[in-house]
Symmetry: C2
Subunit: 209 residues, 2 copies
Amino acid sequence: MERIRDAAVARFGRDGFSAGLRTIATDAGVTAGLVIHHFGSKEGLRQACDDYVLGVIRSEKLRAATSGSAAGMLAQLAEIEQYGPLALYAVRSMQAGGELATAFVEHMVQDAEEYLAAGVAAGTIRPSRDPAGRARYLTFQGMGSLMLWISLHPEMVSVDDFRTALREISDQITLPALELFTEGLFVDRTMLDSYLMYVPDPPGGPAVP
Amino acid sequence: MERIRDAAVARFGRDGFSAGLRTIATDAGVTAGLVIHHFGSKEGLRQACDDYVLGVIRSEKLRAATSGSAAGMLAQLAEIEQYGPLALYAVRSMQAGGELATAFVEHMVQDAEEYLAAGVAAGTIRPSRDPAGRARYLTFQGMGSLMLWISLHPEMVSVDDFRTALREISDQITLPALELFTEGLFVDRTMLDSYLMYVPDPPGGPAVP
DNA sequence: GGGTGGATTGAACAGGCGTTTAGTCTTTGA
DNA sequence: TCAAAGACTAAACGCCTGTTCAATCCACCC
């Protein structure tokens, strides 16, 4: 039963959720009927995979460690040898949407918020007028760009090369990210200041989407 | 034939590329066989849609107009009443990957690079040590975060509400984006400077992925 | 030892898919 | 006016899908 679930996580991560039950069953060395017998339906199997992956992510206290890049968490997850398929599955889940995807992203948003707050307290990160909104913004940007990159380079997303791909991405974005994070993009403050003049201070930040 | 293609663009945009030929045919008021007769196969139909959408995007000189946010282009596309389905189709295409997606994103990357260069020349945007890499980075971040948002809120992506959704996203990210773009994220320059010490100046920027 | 229950299988079913084929209808051109 | 050509349809084909069902195997317990 666990072997079926593990095979499903790996196969879903590799091929997406359109992978067939018979393929998964063969991977696990069993029959399609047995998969249904254990999990009720394909949806039940996916639910079991979701619960398992989310449980691992929650139990392992994974933090976005690298320079504000929200993708750092996934990279960290992929680094742990045995968890590579889990990272792939999480990405597929985000592409498809659903409960696990929402929970996963919200988990990362909250993580980023704590991490940013710690940086602010330590004096290394500038305070924000809307800390929650900033954490959400940075998380969506980082994870979203990773998703887009994977969509455009599907050949690089085999279980074996996933860590390599993440490092390659990291190499490409580090300089622009560091530039943006330390020097900003605009030369003057007119755009921000004029926005702040027209919009009242955010009371607790914008609503959760 | 054009009506079939338009129906396919709309249906693919609404339901994704797993939409059935019979559904598209019914939308267009014809039969599945006729679709095959005209386009050879489902892949041929998708290719025709890709060509059409890319042609429109290329002919309309769309620019990323709003404050460096690469999603501005899609928003602009969606604003033009009749092109709403095209914007949705482009998003689905990016989720699925493939030629159109690559061409579309590369088009936006180049557009962003020109836009940023113009800003640098005008003295409103800071120069970068790697302008091409920065344009790519900002484009992937902006478009990717849009993709992720749409994945997590599939109920909001009907053709009617797409413009509304884009405006809602814009409201949420404007303040964090403006903060980041004018003030940066880090208080001091140590992370950037130490990175520049270890890595030699990028000769023409990192390689294209 | 017999039986009870869960694990497991292989075959079959119903439905959807893209595609093929044969044939009809409609339009066009000489 | 007749015929050729393309638009179009209805039905069927083969394949793949998730799911069901009856039967078998195997382990455990009284």
